[in-house]
Symmetry: C2
């Protein structure tokens, strides 16, 4: 049931380098144990934590914040409110990100649609022609401005 660093790398998608780096940075909930020969041994739990960790990272939580969280966990009971607060802050951060991405997506879809129209109508040769202001400027503008205030 012991896993080598290579195995964990393979299964977590992180590099062996990154795993050692994460350990140095104090990102493991439980200290990583060693075999008598000095090699690291991991367990399924570590993989589960790494999976969460990876989700937090990819949703924009910095390693510093993850460390903060894990530090609270290691301190044991008594700081649940702090943990909750930290999680909730990230939650709302993620919500904001989603909203912003959705907005970007709207702008881009619009742009792509307009492009497709032009190309389909065989007017590609007129796109971004400085003498055709309508198309020329479309390039650097958000045609159909997104609902800023709405």
């Amino acid at each position: 049931m012991d896993l080598s660093i290579g195995e964990v790398a393979r299964r977590s998608g992180l590099s062996v380098h990154a795993l050692r780096f994460y350990e140095r940075e104090g990102l493991f909930a439980n200290p990583v144990r060693r075999l008598s020969n000095g090699r690291r041994i991991y367990h399924e739990e570590d993989l589960e934590w790494l999976a969460i960790c990876t989700k937090l990272r990819s949703s924009g939580m910095s390693l510093a914040t993850i460390r903060q969280y894990i530090d609270l966990v290691r301190q044991g009971p008594g700081n649940e409110h702090e943990r909750l607060e930290l999680l909730r802050r990230h939650e709302s951060h993620v919500e904001t990100q989603i909203r912003e991405l959705q907005e970007t997506l709207d702008v881009m879809r619009n742009k792509v649609r307009i492009y497709e129209d032009h190309v389909a109508r065989g007017e590609a040769d007129r796109l971004w022609n400085p003498s055709h202001p309508d198309t020329a400027q479309a390039e650097t503008r958000q045609e159909c401005h997104p609902p800023e205030g709405a």
Copy 2:
């Protein structure tokens, strides 16, 4: 109608440094003109482009990719398909990001809910107590695994 770099910085939210940096990196659609004294002058269009640029950046497009796009634009008509492809690639990238964030959000909401339950039931003192496996391990596990395949 001419804008100074300071004005553009104020209105775009980018620093003066960043604006000069972006220019060096070739991220402006139109070359930035200068006054006879060497000072840069910008126009409303530049602000509009910077707004899009900022959206692309914050949705994860690298400066290198933005430069690629603007290079296509500068080359003029004839490469609309490449522009479309580039935009569509980013579009799907953003869609993926949204999905992943949503998934993270689900995991986090679950975690927060469980925490709240514990705290509310006055069992905070038992949270993360190694002799209570149920709560001890909850910390580093995704309780109620997210719908991986669903």
